[in-house]
Amino acid sequence: MAAPLVDPSVLPQASRVILVRHARPRVNPARPAREWELSPEGRVAARRLTAVALFEHADGFYAGPEPKMSATLADVAAERGLLVQTDPSFAESHAEGWLDAATFLATVGRFITAPVRPAAAGWETAAEAAARFAAGIERLRPDHGPVVHPGHVNPGAFAVASGGRVLTAYLSWLLGHTTEQAFQTWRAMRMPDVAVVEFSPDVAPRLVIPFGLLASPGAASGGLRLPATGDAG
């Protein structure tokens, strides 16, 4: 066997995770949220993710067990000849019952500000959800090592689709966010949305692309517009 052109021991051992917040579901108060499928708008948005070149780096696609999560990544994975593998580690933080909008937001607020206490009866804490999610990530990372090309190396990468609460909790825990930063992550998140985290040995995990930065991923203009003549500011 020919000797490798580059000593493998000098290759950077970085890896990246593409975190995906699911697309918009069809809300059905009569069913638990974890059973909701994607809405028609959500399916369109999921299809638009196939236009996002970022996913070319992913050699694995995973999702929590909720149908809306795997459906968000199904088209993207299929374009790359892969299936989305469901993993209970990536489920949304467990919640019970139907809450009206105002109550829901207030509960999410407690979920973020008090991560070690249930935000409401039957709710998984943010700390528990983050730990569960992190364990899933750490279990998968060794399967997605650096990708060596002629002339350069890319970090290995895989994509994980999940829900906004657990993604917020995971990122807050991983990056040591303050409560305000955690709220910023939650508020910035769209449906769908993507973020990228990088892991390197001996270095703290790094948020390469935060949620909300790619605006509404897949929108041709991202909603940006030019100021009309006469617009102030």
Binding site: A220, S221, L224, R225, L226
Partner: protein
């Protein structure tokens, strides 16, 4: 092709300094990329992309692709 193998002792005495300039300057087939109407500022490119409803094609080199690389 300049039919000389050495730099003249005194370029100023020769009317061929333009021949040398023509020799040094790139020929049309060497600069085909200049047929593309390049913008030189990415932010201006974003503005034009929004205005015209087009995607952006960015050529980024170590050194300026339109200058010294």
């Amino acid at each position: 092709m300049i039919e000389t193998t050495a730099v003249p002792d005194s370029i100023a005495d020769m009317p061929t300094f333009r021949d040398f300039i023509a020799y040094v300057r790139p020929k049309p087939d060497e600069i085909r990329w200049l047929d593309v109407p390049w913008q030189t500022d990415l932010w201006e490119g974003r503005r034009l992309a929004l205005q015209e409803g087009k995607p952006i094609f960015l050529w980024a080199m170590n050194g300026n692709p339109l200058g010294c690389t």
